[in-house]
Amino acid sequence: MLSLSVGIIFITGLAAPYLLPRLGRAAPWLFSLIPLGILAGLLTHIIGSVSTFPWVESLGLTILFRAEGLSYLFAVLITGIGAVVTLYSGGYFHGDSRAGRWFCFLFLFMGSMLGLVLSDNVFSLFVFWELTSITSFLLIGFDHHRPEARAAALQSLLVTAGGGLSLLAGLVLLALITHTTDLGAMVAAEIPNDSPLLPWVAALILIGAATKSAQIPFQFWLPNAMTAPTPASAFLHSSTMVKAGVFLLFRLQPLFESISWWGPALMLVGGLTALTGAWMAVRQHVLKPLLAWSTVSSLGLMVMLIGAGTPEALFAAAVFILAHALYKAALFLVAGILDHETGERDIRRLGGLRQDMPITAITATLSGLSMAGIPLTAGFVAKESMYETLLHAPAYGWMLLVCAVLAGASFAAVAWSVSVKPFHGSRLPTDRHAHDPGSTMFFGPLMLSGLGIAAGTVPSLLLEPHAAASAPTAHHVPHLAAWHGFNLPLLLSAITLALGGVVIWLRHRKAAGDTSSALNKLGTERLYYRAMDLLDRFSTRTANTVQHGLLRIYLFSVLLGAMAILWPLVYRHAAPLDNLITSWAASGAAETRWHEWALLLTMIMAIGATVHARTRLGAVTALGVVGYVIAVIFVLYGAPDLAMTQFVIETLTVILIALSFSHLPPFRDLSPLWVRARDLLFAVTGGVVMTVLTLVALNARKHESVAAYYMENSYNLAHGKNVVNVILVDFRGIDTLGEITVLAIAALGAFALLRTLPGRKRGETP
């Protein structure tokens, strides 16, 4: 049932462009029923928790889906928020001709993401991991006519797919160490602590996870990815895909616990990311970058908690993942509504919209409360459990606590900027007439933010069971409650809010100027551009050196390379060469009959004519004669199939060359004597090497010839008396399949090149 669910999402995605115009206005509602149905199936456990699907059985690869613990939590998040985003997209892309493409990409992403979190086989996990990178690329670059969207899409793909390669290396090593590809078995496996490869595995997987979850130093791609349409930002770049790295670290945490640097490394990376994100977030004035940097900060906090590593910390991380997904997705969708209905993205130019957009204002306020961590919200419960955990953390506790409090203060400031500032105060003029969006757009975010409040009011019902299941060692999980009484975490919460208030006040006083300089100071993005620039220049130089466009030199270098490889072979077999010739002569094959002498003479004359031809046509025709003579030799030695092909190919070659005459410069002899001497030497050497190689190959057989088997079974097994053909289409058919594919691609290349020749009118098709 699980694999069926993933399959249905993929199929819906592929069919969406065809279904959309036929379903009309109901389409978004119907589309969102699919993730919603899967969500219902997951929550009621109608969809089983394990499902296998054979993939490449001969390689031992099966897609094993398991919805338990953390996978279950993420599957619920993906389908739930997926349903909301699908519905919202219906309004966001209403009347847009690209809506079909949008739904296609969205569902393909949803299927990949669901496959990623459900996979229990590390290699299917990797495939889905890369699929999410690719679909994310497509969604970020959705407005592909905008150069910055293309650049951001490419950047995110290079960073996350590059990290994916590191992840693959790590997973392969891990599979070698644990002798299993099953994720659950891996985590349970007893790995000797002194395995020298384990630290490498940990480092490689950490790099993969850090790129995906935008951890320092890879944080820069996520804010740039905000050029994506807002529903994609809400779905991929806040609540699901960017959490894939966190998910993986969470799943594999038990494996790497024994490595001394693992916990501190995660805490360091996560803490720095949390601080950087918090610092950058409060400097932004545009809605989406503001939210994006606070997402970076939240991801940092999650990684930090996983680094702390205690069961309580993992539990707190799971609670935070849930709470964050609820409020951040809703706030992104609110930002999308503001952009969509007012045409304005800068919070400095938004204000007093409460009267005109009451429902949006309520949604924003509810999510904002949760993000700021006000009591009776999911955000508050998550923050409390985080502080509680860090107060009792075995190591580095107070440093982590400082990070968490500072990040929390920035969340409060961001919440104020997004959910209070645009709706209160004096009404600022907007380009468009501001009003609440249609039901498709406000329904989802309102649901999410309402759920955030409900989860914060009765956390033992809505948050605890999901989060508790995901902790790997869930023997004693702390009890979640809406109110824990007056204690140290509450004091910290109060300090956090006070700090947030100070930040808001500072920002209000000094309307910070340009933020791009601060972005540039952050360094690592500059490294990315440096690397891209170097790659560009290297490729240009290589291409200019290798692809100089002189056909003769191409041919020369190819032949030179072949000679360099083949000469040693000939040299090694040089000793028995005279034996070869004597044995060949003794076998009678060397007895040449008179008509064979005639053929040989014809061929030599034709070669002479080719070399001495005064016109191009003459040279080509003479070369054709050489080919025909070879075909006749094939006939004499009993290879009619080869001969026939050779005849036709020779004819076609002559026609081909003759046709290309019109594109060639006049036929003149410009080469100096030494070039001609060099070419002669070269040609003769080539001929000798090939001849000797053929002789050597004839006598080098070590295994029994396969010919006997083919001769014997051609008719019995394959109903054919012509062995050559049976080999081509049956015994070695897969080679032929490859060859005709290559042929087709070569023809396509020629077709495309000849279409762009100068002197052709546009739009003509040959």
Binding site: P640, D641, S660, N722, L728, I740, A744, A750, G759, R760
Partner: protein, 144 residues
């Protein structure tokens, strides 16, 4: 090219070449020939027509765009290769149907035949595609 001899010859050669190509294709399993050679010979027929009567005439005779032929040929070959997987056998296992035709003997048709047919169309398409493109480029150059 405007040669009466070539034109007259082409009128008689073209059907012969086409029939011969089909003969090569069908007989290929037991006698010299096969899809590859057959496709080349058929391609030659159309090239000859293009040289004698012009590109437009050859395109009209071919009816479909060479690219379509290439695509369909590849598809047919790939489909016949995948056919055995539907029956639960390994990829590319030959599947045969044998009939006893009264007065002739045993007639065996198998997936390798369809594979060969795909090769035939692929090669025919590739030949026409390249040579038509070259001819077209040459004509365009001649005009300007």
């Amino acid at each position: 090219m405007n040669s009466v001899i070539l034109r007259t010859g082409t009128v008689y050669l073209r059907p012969l070449l086409l029939i011969f190509s089909v003969f090569l294709l069908l007989g290929g399993h037991n006698q010299p020939g096969g899809g590859f050679t057959g496709g080349l010979v058929a391609g030659l027929a159309f090239v000859l027509e293009a040289l004698a009567f012009g590109l437009d005439q050859a395109r009209r005779t071919l009816r479909v765009h060479p690219l379509t032929l290439v695509g369909c040929g590849l598809l047919l070959s790939a489909m016949s290769a995948f056919f055995s997987t539907l029956l639960g056998k390994p990829f590319m296992t030959g599947t045969w149907w044998v009939w006893h035709v009264p007065g002739w003997g045993e007639l065996a048709v198998g997936t390798p035949f369809f594979f060969d047919l795909g090769v035939y169309f692929d090669v025919l398409g590739v030949t026409c595609l390249i040579i038509f493109s070259l001819l077209n480029a040459g004509e365009a150059e001649g005009k300007t």
